[in-house]
């Protein structure tokens, strides 16, 4: 008998009392979604840029490029100085990646990002600093509200990103910048 069949057979004798899948009817908190989002993003060590939109972002990028920073952008209209390379490993020296976020979650500051339109899935993780954009109308109250909205097509990788990478594995001291990006700026559109 295959291991699969063996496991499935063993599962015919489960003693745990069956219950139906519950209905999820959590009342969302809809007041000041951007404010909630900003507070929680801050708790995750991310920064929300409320003013200026894409113009402010482009002028920030222009300054970075003058300093010689390596920047890759996936946002129409934002000019940068790097293209998608042939291999993911060549992204190792990217200083800033600029990526559109699809949905924002007010209750925890997380942003849903689809990775397969980025050429290489590694992009939001390997960059030294990450910049995401989010449209104000795409910020929803909580995870229940977002779960039926996020699209994750067959074969794809989607990720909720909440702040820069971090760790507290040494004596519970919070250190921002573990293996992923060391900073996260979110531009509100």
């Amino acid at each position: 008998m295959s291991s699969k069949q063996h496991i499935l057979n063993s599962l015919k004798k489960v003693a745990v009392e069956p219950v139906p899948m519950p209905e999820i009817n959590i009342v969302p908190r809809t007041e000041d979604l951007v404010g909630q989002f900003e507070t929680n993003l801050k708790a995750c060590a991310g920064i929300l840029r409320r003013e200026g939109g894409l113009e402010a972002l482009q002028s920030f990028v222009d300054d970075l490029m003058k300093e010689g920073k390596q920047i890759i952008s996936f946002i129409d209209g934002i000019e940068s100085n790097r293209e998608i390379p042939a291999t993911p490993h060549e992204l190792r020296d990217i200083d800033f990646a600029i990526i559109p976020g699809d949905w924002g979650v007010a209750e925890n500051g997380a942003i849903w990002v689809c990775c397969d339109k980025l050429g290489h899935r590694i992009t939001p993780f390997i960059c030294e600093n990450l910049i995401l954009t989010i449209e104000e109308s795409k910020i929803v109250p909580n995870m229940h509200e977002v779960s039926d909205k996020v699209s994750l097509e067959s074969g794809n990788l989607g990720v909720y990103i909440a702040g820069p990478s971090k760790t507290a594995d040494i004596e519970q001291a919070l250190v921002v910048g573990a293996h992923g990006a060391c900073s996260l700026n979110v531009y509100l559109l």
Binding site: S3, H6, I7, L8, S10, L11, K12, K13, V14, A15, V16, E17, P18, V19, P20, M21, P22, I24, I26, A43, H89, R92, E107, N108, G109, A110, C115, R121, I122, F125, I126, N142, H144, S147, V150, L152, E153, S154, G155, L157, G158, V159, Y160, I161, A162, G163, S165, K166, T167, A168, D169, I170, E171, Q172, A173, V175, G177, A178, H179, G180
Partner: protein, 459 residues
């Protein structure tokens, strides 16, 4: 005290941990600090208790229909281009992992946190066969370099002080000697591990959730090590216990709302990644493992321990864990959940007693695993199968008989009260055993509670 098979009982190992009193105090406080952060995070969500109940129901529903959902998960994975393997035990899991890696001539594997691969002792299995395994979670890398097992499921190196980590890094990865600043050490590890990420041939992760309706797996990290690992080489492997199944995205969302809040007090982990297929030109494998889980599901009470989402909340709150450390449990997973899922494999037959039955673990559990009831059940099973540890099997039957007799109990209590009043403490202390080690004996009352009650309240 050691047992015939050589493992040492919990109390003995706890004694070793407790030798450094300052460190134990620090350990206990560090974990309580996490517990307090958890309370604030839970308290900030008005519907917290409501989602705990939903979480419990989602998991109970999945466990009671597990065969159905596992098959649905497999079917959808295959449609997404994910290869699925089934393993009955740790040995079979390791063989499968090795055969995939060997087929691709993998020399270096980067791994993110997976308690399951710890359970299966996969690292030594692969290393023996010539594959270099690099643990990439900072805490896991620390203990891998120190050649120790994890002492906590979320904070694997919580038993180590920053000075110890500094010393270890200076020796193993060439950081500055004498440096112990956590930021400096983390940056040193970032640089050291980035080279490994860029030169790895394959990556492996654990699985936080497996979504049946979409055929995707969810991996949560704060450090980004899972995603850094998986998305550079072309080959990715993920190991999951059969209990990781959730029916759909709605169910996953309920659990995601609680996982990080209950683990560390964060609103959510930095990265919650949903892999629904391999990268372009890549290969993705999921290994589904039983390893005793189907047996646990045959017991109504113990089966509920599989509702666990491995947040570690029960460890942080446990008064015994905080003062005995994660290495005292004779199992890969320590603390209340470690007792719940590991007691049947405990050859010392002692870990079900590393518990005061205070129930704090059950109160903080996000999916309402009845941990105290499960631990109590393990005690009963050990007793029924004649596996009580030496001391308990000799004196517990006597204590039982003694306490069942009103006359004997009243008489001896009277003697004890008088003795406590008139005899010097030094003479009485030895009778209190380990309890009296760090405590003073109480002053003997002048009468029994029963006598006091009769006199003052009986009418």
């Amino acid at each position: 005290m050691s047992t015939t098979k050589g493992s040492q009982v919990h109390a003995h190992k706890a004694d070793i941990f407790c030798k450094d009193e300052t460190k134990v105090d620090w350990h206990s406080k560090a974990l309580w600090f996490v517990r307090e952060k958890r309370d604030r995070a839970a308290g900030s969500i008005p519907e917290w208790e409501e989602i705990r109940e939903l979480g419990s129901q989602v998991k109970t529903h999945a466990l009671s229909h597990l065969g159905h959902y596992l098959e649905e998960f497999e079917k959808n994975c295959l449609a997404n281009g994910i290869q699925v393997h089934w393993a009955r035990d740790g040995e079979e899991h390791n063989q499968i992992a090795h055969s995939i890696l060997a087929k691709h001539k993998v020399k270096k594997l980067v791994k993110s946190k997976s308690m399951l691969t710890e359970e299966c002792h996969m690292n030594p299995y692969l290393e023996k066969r010539g594959i270099e395994v690099i643990d990439t979670d900072l805490g896991e890398r620390i203990i891998q370099l120190a050649e120790q097992p994890p002492s906590h499921i979320v904070l694997p190196a919580i038993h180590m002080k920053k000075e110890e980590v500094g010393e270890l890094f200076a020796e193993k990865i060439g950081s500055e000697k004498g440096a112990s600043d956590p930021t400096y050490l983390t940056r040193a590890a970032r640089a050291h591990l980035r080279e490994h990420f860029l030169t790895a041939d394959a990556a492996m992760t654990g699985v936080n959730m497996a979504v049946a309706s979409t055929g995707s797996i969810v991996v949560c990290t704060n450090e980004g090590n899972a995603d850094m690992g998986v998305n550079l080489p072309k080959l990715q492997l993920h190991s999951m216990g059969i209990d990781k199944i959730v029916p759909n995205m709605d169910g996953a969302s309920v659990l995601l709302r609680m996982l990080a809040r209950n683990a560390t007090g964060q609103p959510i982990t930095t990265y919650s990644s949903f892999y629904r297929g391999p990268q372009h030109d890549g290969e993705m494998h999921v290994i589904i493992v039983d390893r005793g889980r189907t047996d646990m599901l045959k017991d109504k009470i113990i089966g509920e321990s599989l509702k666990c989402i491995r947040c570690g909340g029960c460890l942080n709150t446990c008064p015994v864990y905080r003062r005995s450390g994660g290495h005292s449990y004779n199992y890969t997973i320590p603390g209340p959940i470690g007792i719940a899922v590991g007691a049947q494999d405990d050859d010392t037959n002692s870990i079900p007693w590393a518990c005061t039955l205070c129930g704090s673990c059950t109160s903080v559990c996000p999916t309402k695993v009845p941990l105290d009831q499960i631990i109590f059940r393990h005690r009963r099973l050990k007793a029924e199968s004649g596996q009580l540890p030496y001391g308990k099997s000799s004196y517990m039957p006597l204590v039982g008989k003694f306490m069942a007799s009103e006359t004997m109990l009243n008489c001896s209590m009277g003697v004890a009260r008088t003795a406590l009043r008139i005899l010097p403490g030094s003479l009485m202390k030895p009778f209190s055993g380990a309890w009296g080690k760090y405590r003073e004996l109480p002053a003997g009352a002048s009468s029994s509670f029963e006598a006091w009650y009769k006199k003052n309240r009986s009418n």
